[in-house]
Amino acid sequence: MSTDTQTTPRPEEHPIAPYLRMDRMPHIWCPTCGIGTIVKCFATALGEAEVDLDKTAIVSGIGCTGRVAGYMNLDAFHATHGRAIPFATGLKLGRPELEVVVFSGDGDLSGIGGNHFIHAARRNMDLLVILVNNFIYGMTGGQNAPTTPETARSSTMPFGNFEHPFNLPHLAASCGATFVSRWTCLHIRRLTKCIRTALGRKGFRFIEVIAPCSTLYSRLNRLGSGLDLLKFYHDNSEIKHGADTRELDIAYQDHFICGNFLDEERPTFLEQMHAHYTKTLGDRFMPMKPEGGWIHD
C-alpha cells in the first residue's frame, strides 16, 4: 500500500515517535478530529525549539484535548476539569526551571477554568497555553461551550445557541497575556512555527488553535466531516498578523481571522516577585532555587 522502491531501508516508525507514548497508540480521537494534527505540530515545535525535554512538563485538563498529556512523552499530568492552569502554576512555582505547557480544550480552559485563565494571564504566569477550540464540549457528548458561535446547535442548545461566545485572543490579551495567536489545525507550518517561537519566550503565552470536531460539533450542525471543516477553514480564514484583538470574534460558519496578534516582553510573575523582594528585603531575600523546593539530605 505504500511506495516501496526498496533503495533505502523502510523506517519503521514515525519521526515524531520519540515525543509520544507509542505504547498507547492508536489514540482515542475520532477520525477527522484535528487534535492529533495539533499534537504533531507541537511535538515538531518541541524538537525544532531544542527545549530540554526532561525539563518540560505538560498539563491537560478534562475533555478530548485533555487527553493530550497522556500521549506525550514528557512529565505529563492529567488534572481535574478546568484546573490545568493552577496545577501548572504549582509545578512552575515549585520548580521554576521547568518549562510548563498547558494543553487543553476550550470548555476546560475558558468555561470551568475561566477564572484561572484570566488570573494566570493577569499575573503573566510563565506558562505556554495551547487551547484547542472545537467550539463544543466534545468528550461529554456535544454540549454548548463558551466558544460555541451564535446559532450553532449543541446538545444543550438544541434550537441553536443564543449566547454570545468568547473572543479568546481578546480575552487573553486584555487580561495581560504577552503572546497571543490564533491558528487552525490546517495551518500546520505556521502553527508549528508559532509554537516554536512561543517556546522561546517567557510569560503567559496563549495560542488558540481551531480544530474540527467531527463527531459532535460537525455532526450536530450537519457540517460534514472534519475534512469538510478543514476545507471551510481553508476558504474562510484570513491571516492578519497584528490585528486588533477586538475584531477577532467568530460568527457561525463565517469568515474569521487568524495570525500572530501579540508578542511583547513583560516581566513574568516570578521575575516581578524576585525584583520586588530584592528591592524590599535586600539581603534577607532568599528566592527558591530554580531546581525547586525539594529539601533533602
Binding site: M1, S2, T3, H14, C33, T37, K40, G226, L227
Partner: protein, 96 residues
C-alpha cells in the same frame, strides 16, 4: 503554477524526491493527506486496514517531493515521508 520567467539557477536546483511511508493500521481514513498533498500522490485505497478504514496509497510513483505535508497534517501519526536515496545524493551534489 506557470513560471513566466525561467529561474537563472534552474539547472542547479533538483526537485527533491521523497518516499511515502504509511503505517496503515494506525490510519483512520480521514483523507487529510489525500486532500492536501500538493502533488496529488495519494488516494484512499480500496482495501481495508485492521480497523476497517481505507488507508491512503500512493498512486503517482516517484512524484512525492518530500514536502512532509502529509506527515504534518495526519492526526494519527500514520504517514510520513523520507528522502528517496537517489534524491539525497543528487541534492548533495546540487547545493551551493
Amino acid at each position: 503554477m506557470r513560471n513566466w520567467r525561467i529561474p537563472l539557477d534552474v539547472d542547479k536546483v533538483k526537485v527533491p524526491v521523497g518516499r511515502v511511508v504509511i503505517i496503515a493500521d494506525r490510519c483512520k481514513g480521514c483523507a487529510f493527506c489525500v486532500e492536501y498533498c500538493p502533488k496529488d500522490v495519494l488516494v484512499l485505497s480500496e482495501g481495508f486496514n485492521k480497523k476497517g478504514y481505507h488507508p491512503p496509497e500512493v498512486v503517482k510513483n516517484g512524484e512525492c517531493v518530500n514536502c512532509n505535508l502529509c506527515e504534518m497534517i495526519c492526526p494519527d501519526f500514520a504517514i510520513f515521508c523520507v528522502p528517496e536515496d537517489g534524491a539525497e545524493a543528487a541534492a548533495e551534489g546540487g547545493t551551493n
